[in-house]
Symmetry: C2
């Protein structure tokens, strides 16, 4: 298959971003549709990405004392109903189990859309005194939300995620935890996935159902649409009161505890695809790539080529995640395209003449630059090259985000900016949900967040003209 | 709390093994009951055990080329029904989702009891030629089986497990894979969990629903009941035919592929508890223990004690999974009992006099032996001690199994042996399911397996008296 044919298989990214996305997901064998409507199968290459995200994230969690646990996947209806805002937010999109073991159930059970209710129920049993606090629990699991329109990784009826649920003695400690976890998400997304994040607080309208405050890390995709990549919620006593999560405090008095929850999901895989990919397919940051470099022997039937390629593989594989593509039924050109499509950060070519000269050719996936490297320097050079790629992918992404961020002072400007330059629009805001709704109605953009890094752009709200102290970033969303 | 009070909290193991088990599960904070009937919550200490099992096992899987993936948790009823034996085996114990997003579903969906059907469906889409084979997929996930009677870890409506599903070009390769995975399970259970296994093939009656052959690793608990700890199935073409998992073979002809599946679960946690525990509670093999050694300062209010204990912790924690118990609201004696109950393999005591003498006291959980060790030798000694404990726990378990294994030549002897000495009974067997049923009916014992290590105990079947070439091991089961 020629390069042209390969490229033809993937829709042009400028022409139809949504179709390009789906093509990449399927051609790079990240995921596939299944016969369970709205559910995807995550294929080994996609799952390996998730494992790398999990390993990195779980280590960070453990460093701050978080421990993993596991709660039932089914939640009784009466339990879901205990917190009013929460049930209103989630009940319309849950799946119900009504039969088990051949019999109709007395009470129907929902498949968890999130686990605040059952976590709080169990925590109430486990906590007696301030000495039992904090509880810093987390689970890696599947959740279900019965979405009408689905897209692989971005909006699927089932997805994999982690949900952390912590309980604290004081408001201050819980608030601190909420931000600590948000910062871990920022670390994962920026340092592992090479995507810059916008950190801030959600407006009350966009808060999690039942939260007192929701904090978010927002990312911007190449088509200018925003993707909420992780959220961290401060609940105060909103759940501990209805679920009676009480403890005896240091003064011997009974008190309701303070709670947080925080989550991130396989959506992050969608973010990686849409933040970095191009017309050749996927482009993976080296730190998260399941294969960091692929060795492609040139004229592999010639004497000594496969041997040398294998030797290189054995050496490099001790330090990097390597692949040797020794398929004998396709050409080097086919292999180049194939691994470019799968986003492998570096390709190493080695043929008879290279061996003669004691060199190999390294090709970067991110900018396609080539370099010739002495074999005795290859191991070190590959390491620095992977780091360079990681950094330059982050920087490219940051530059794109800056180009796609504008400021608006009037409602017309918001609409105009979003039409001309999809991306983030920054405005002042008076704090009134009516103005937030107005902006959404006329522009299609939701408030992304109230960024932590505030700027005083103007004195008044672009909608109502009243005094405005808050800067909000807006954007269309996934 | 005194030692007597502590022990009182756990039912005596000789008096009521079942209640002892439940007490240990709850007092050691491994798991708890939930408000979703028949479902447990796995608490952090129990989940840490599962993570250690996962890490060890997953590494072994990857060494033989297995890759992880993820399939939908919900399976349409029509898909479950495609393989006759399979649906007959599982349909009676599944949970059905009949409502989603506020609407009744057109077709009901079951929560996976196991994933042969959906794996086969997807594999059929992904396999075209022999070049696409083998596919060696595995998923770590939750499954549901609507059990009537449940027990934490042993028989729960939801449990966590891994299920591997592989597809091969030839019968021979698939059969080889089936045994390769069985051997990995044997490795995990013997080397990580310190429990000897009996390896063999299940009789046709005890096979997995839809399998051509089921292989098993059987373990024996302290009460003499057997626990099936992992199984590996060879399916032949039983699933690939109804699910049309076809490939073009090396001769260019279309052929049905050959399939395997293999699984092990959080049951293994139950096995660890029941194989090793005693009247003081849990007893964990060092390799799987979340905490390998706990440091308990003696007279910790005295000058220098906490400092020295902390210093030891910092040093040892670089090599071992350590815990420093510096709680100021309970006595060393309380702490001794507390960590014994939680099964921590080694306790390190350090007090003012020890510091003066430059020593610490090490106490083994498995046999309670004490030794005094110079502080400058502590790091090395702890390492060898943990190894000694691991080995001697395995050996104790093996010895117990040998004591609880008898031979029987008649039906009466089978019944008598199982009454006098609960455990394994070895007999010859003619191969007739009628004789197998008879043994089960009169003795309550299921055939555990046809062990790979066969012995010719006699010439005839203990039930019908006909010629018998097969040796079977029997036992009551969990």
């Amino acid at each position: 298959m020629k390069k042209e044919d390969f490229v033809k298989e993937i829709t042009n990214i400028e022409e139809d971003f949504a179709q390009w996305y789906t093509d990449v997901v399927r051609k790079a064998e990240l995921a596939d549709y299944t016969d369970t409507k709205g559910f995807i199968a995550i294929r080994p290459y996609g799952y390996a990405l998730w494992e790398n995200i999990q390993n990195y994230t779980d280590k960070k969690f453990k460093e701050v004392g978080v421990t993993n646990l596991y709660m039932p996947v089914l939640i009784p209806e009466s339990m879901l109903q205990k917190e009013k805002d929460h049930v209103e937010g989630f009940a319309p999109e849950v799946a119900w189990v009504t039969m088990g073991g051949g019999e109709e159930l007395e009470e129907r059970l929902c498949i968890r859309p999130t686990s605040e209710t059952i976590m709080s129920t169990m925590y109430a049993k486990w906590i007696k005194s301030w000495r039992d606090l904090p509880i810093l629990g987390n689970q890696w699991c599947n959740v279900l939300r019965w979405e009408k329109e689905t897209r692989p990784f971005l909006r699927s009826r089932e997805f994999l995620w982690q949900e952390g649920h912590t309980v604290h003695e004081t408001k201050e400690e819980a608030e601190e935890m909420t931000l600590k976890m948000l910062n871990i998400y920022a670390d994962v997304i920026e340092n592992l996935l090479a995507i810059p994040v916008l950190k801030g607080r959600k407006t009350p309208k966009e808060q999690f159902a039942g939260a007192e405050a929701t904090y978010t890390v927002e990312t911007l995709m190449q088509d200018g649409r925003a993707l909420q990549a992780g959220t961290s919620h401060y609940f105060g006593q909103n759940f501990t009161k209805p679920f009676e999560v009480k403890f005896q405090n240091r003064e011997g008095k009974e008190e309701y505890a303070y709670q947080t929850s925080w989550g991130t999901s396989t959506r992050l895989i969608g973010a990686v695809i849409m933040a970095h990919g191009d017309n050749r397919g996927l482009k993976l940051p080296p730190k998260v790539a399941p294969i960091q470099a692929v060795i492609i022997p040139i004229a592999q039937h010639k004497e000594g080529v496969l041997e040398k390629a294998t030797e290189l593989y054995e050496t490099l594989n001790q330090h990097y995640r390597m692949k040797l593509d020794d398929r004998d039924n396709c050409s080097p050109g086919f292999k180049f395209n194939d691994w470019e499509m799968r986003g492998v950060p570096v390709r190493i070519e080695i043929g008879p003449r290279d061996i003669e000269n004691g060199v190999a050719v390294l090709v970067r996936r991110d900018n396609l630059e080539k370099e010739t490297v002495n074999l005795n320097e290859l191991e070190d050079r590959l390491g620095t090259l992977l780091e360079e790629i990681q950094t330059s992918m982050f920087e490219a992404c940051l530059k794109r985000r800056e180009e796609k961020t504008t400021i608006a002072y009037t409602l017309d400007e918001i609409v105009k900016n979003l039409k001309e330059n999809q991306g983030y629009v920054k405005t002042m805001w008076c704090g009134d949900v009516a103005c937030e709704n107005k902006i959404k109605d006329v522009s299609g953009a939701h408030s992304r967040c109230i960024p932590f890094q505030q700027e005083h752009l103007a004195d008044s709200c672009p909608v109502c003209g009243k005094k405005a102290d808050i800067m909000v970033t807006w954007g269309r969303q996934y």
